[in-house]
Symmetry: C2
Subunit: 228 residues, 2 copies
DNA sequence: TTAATTTGTTAGTCATAGCTAACTTTTTTA
DNA sequence: TAAAAAAGTTAGCTATGACTAACAAATTAA
């Protein structure tokens, strides 16, 4: 059983595609992921995606049948998980040690996650005393590549009268993250659903002894744990 | 006086060439730097260098006449200095916080210096409380881009009986750095020139109450401050 | 079940940045 | 100072990874 030493001779682009596919497959809970979907996610043309998928297939990281859906192989998955681990460790470092705010970390972490050095990431992990979650509340995969997905209950899925605790937010958009912190929400904030307006599905929520109205779109990007 | 905001829209390669040219021009004290010299330094072909130099000239960072020597413009220099600043700050971070040794930092810092984020480097500097020197003893350019070159007196330039203090080492080679630390030399080590052997210019030096013989090649890469 | 729409694929182009081989200019040295 | 060597340049090739335009297959809707 020659556990092949991962040389990680992948380009930045190849890494980006593998990570994106993983996130669509696993994180967003999609049952099937197609070429165009991946293209849209990465904001490149379907032709570019098709090209790269072809390459990743010959390298043994991706499988798909012609005109069929995409999947990661057992070799492809750990590469994606390691990238997510690196991304989240860097985000944690930036927030906790370098005074970055929620909305500032993502772009820099996107660059830092491609730095190739096993020692760098192991030592960074140790330096921060092995954090479990990143600043957005997402679980950081450990050095063994174990990956846990938080059950993603969105704020929008709750009903009037429910109470919940904020466990994570979608980190894709800077304007969203700014908005979240500006209204005073933070990880672990306790939120009560006061009212859901039938007309436009907007939600009146109570937290920090104040009431705020948010849209359904907003609530779709806020992940919570329901309190009993 | 519109101090043009530096967008730093340069590729990794462009940055590498500018930094390399700067180091040949300023640090190694070369009066003239030619195309092939730059190529050799960067370990690429003269044709590649010629090509890139052409590009950097149209961008206004490099000047040269056809078949003439290369020079950096006033726009090109600060870009190189900023890269050196980033490189040295990262090296310092890796050594002082992440348990990296002298010889391990260089390759990772080469990657990290290309991360584009002004805030990242400013905050890293602040986090480490504005260090003045990197782990190899080289002065770190400050945020204003002020660049001081240590007067580079090599160990090989001294004479028998002279005493000196190690202030810096050439960080280009891993085997050299390993060698330096293995024999027990470190920054600020006090070294006495016991004897210079005429035959092969090898030098017997005394430090830490022990005597060691080193070659001229070794002594060429050790920078010292002469003690009176 | 055919037609329209969406999704996926292919071919061909572009920019970056490397390379070799051939050539020109400059510098060195005999 | 003329020949040899070194340094610099150009042309043309390669790979990566974008792109558009045209086309094929699969899916959805009429």
């Amino acid at each position: 059983m020659t556990n092949k030493l991962n040389l990680n001779n992948l380009t930045k682009s190849e890494e980006d595609y593998l990570k994106a596919l993983f996130q669509l497959l696993i994180e967003d809970g999609a049952t099937k992921v197609g070429n165009n979907q991946l293209a849209e996610y990465l904001k490149v043309s379907p032709a570019s995606t098709n090209n790269m998928v072809k390459k990743l297939k010959t390298k043994g990281y991706v499988v798909s049948e012609k005109y069929g859906k995409l999947d990661l192989t057992e070799e492809g998955k750990p590469i994606a998980v390691r990238l997510i681990r690196k991304h989240r460790l860097w985000e944690t470092f930036l927030c906790n040690y370098l005074n970055f705010t929620w909305d500032e970390v993502h772009d820099v972490a996107e660059q830092l996650e491609h730095i190739k050095s096993q020692k760098l990431i192991d030592e960074l992990d140790r330096f921060m005393d092995f954090p479990q979650k990143d600043p957005h509340g997402e679980i950081i995969p450990n050095a063994d590549g174990e990956y846990f997905v938080l059950p993603k209950i969105t704020l929008s899925s709750l009903e009037e009268g429910d109470t919940c605790q904020l466990v994570a937010v979608n980190d894709g958009s800077v304007t969203f993250l700014k908005y979240v912190s500006e209204i005073g929400l933070a990880l672990s904030s306790e939120i009560k659903i006061v009212e859901i307006r039938e007309f436009d599905k907007s939600i009146r929520i109570e937290f920090n002894n104040a009431i705020e109205t948010v849209t359904k779109k907003f609530a779709d990007n806020v992940f919570v744990k329901k309190l009993v």
